[in-house]
Symmetry: C2
Subunit: 225 residues, 2 copies
């Protein structure tokens, strides 16, 4: 597939090379490609400058959000959840219409300290906000319930656990589910329409506390039944 | 242990006989024991009248909330989450002080239709509200993340999954964890202090959607790692 990964942080840098490795065409979207490539210092999260990272990541092209999104079959929203709607606006509705948006972001609010709280919850979700803002796209919420390394490489743990898909379009969920299985995921539960993203976004608070309790982000939820 | 189970609904009626079966002394607490025993019709959830049920449940005594709580080593809050603080007030601080309160309720709000939303979330939890209201008790939040039948009989599914405990007192969490293992649970994760109950209470929205997607409440979360 022709894919765009919006976001140059840890999540984008983990998903993009995995898509390339699996044979998909990948363009990473950023606000200002020249500025992104001009950076020589690690970012706030300690990630290497994008240019240095990209030089070691074959098959990854960098472009502005709009250019990355244009013509993509599937767009991965790997941006900070608080910035996602702004980023999608920059990508432009004309470049989003007709595509599948795989929304893997969480609407986290770090402004009140740690652990972060959720910007929306229970009566709305980021997935729904994106679907409402771009009704001509088919939004599928998934992958937001586990660490980036496990998203892309579920075989890091012996039982990779369960993933969830939420979305209004069955074909789009089937496409995403097939992609998740290419990644190595085995158990994918279709929760229903995009409103069910409220449930998976609300997993983040317990995920954050489990990270603290277990001392590692290498864990996942599995639904035993 | 001398235990009290507050609440005569499905959850109380599942936990109480399991405690009795395991050799614990059990008193079920209700608002008005005479009125509870006088009922001859099924309740709103379709449960048999309490008296008919109790007659078939050896070892279960019914008492008012205060009498049930008095002298108990461990009190199980098996009431509707929206009514829990009112019920505990009826039990009386003098009867609660010094005990462990095992809070298995969820603060669900059914007033806005289905699925229910949460009365508090993310910045507070029912577990914290109880701990703040009764600082002389030791509140442990647990068991609120699965169906009543699986709480008491985890062997209904081949892998019973994971339970979580949240609380400020390590001894109280150890007592509860030992009790959960008597029930048949195997994997119990100590998430930390009672504020971590925010995480497990916020599991309910995805639990409700999983129930819809799977068509059965016989499932549980397992943390694979």
């Amino acid at each position: 597939m022709k894919t765009a990964v919006l976001g140059t942080g840890t999540v984008g840098r983990t998903i993009a090379p995995r898509l390339a490795e699996l044979g998909h065409i990948v363009t990473v979207g950023t606000r200002d490609p020249e500025a992104t490539l001009a950076r020589t210092e690690p970012d706030a999260m300690g990630n290497a400058p994008f240019g240095a990272w990209a030089a070691e990541s074959p098959g990854i092209t960098l472009a502005g959000f709009a250019d990355a999104a244009a013509g993509a079959d599937l767009i991965v929203n790997a941006t900070n959840g608080g910035a996602s709607l702004d980023v999608l606006a920059q990508a432009g509705a004309e470049n989003l219409d007709g595509t599948i948006i795989l929304d893997i972001a969480n609407p986290l609010d770090f402004s009140k300290g740690m652990p972060p709280t959720l910007l929306v919850k229970d009566t709305d979700s980021l997935g729904e906000q994106i679907q409402r803002s771009y009704p001509q796209t088919r939004v599928v919420k998934s992958l937001n319930t586990l660490n980036a390394d496990l998203m892309a490489h579920p075989d890091r743990i012996s039982d990779p656990g369960t993933l969830f898909v939420s979305g209004n379009d069955t074909d789009a969920k089937d496409t995403v589910t097939a992609l998740l299985k290419e990644f190595g995921h085995r158990d994918v539960i279709d929760l229903g329409d995009i409103t069910t993203a409220r449930g998976t976004e609300m997993l983040l608070p317990v995920w954050l506390r489990l990270w603290g309790a277990l001392g590692t982000p290498d864990f996942n939820f599995k639904i035993v039944r």
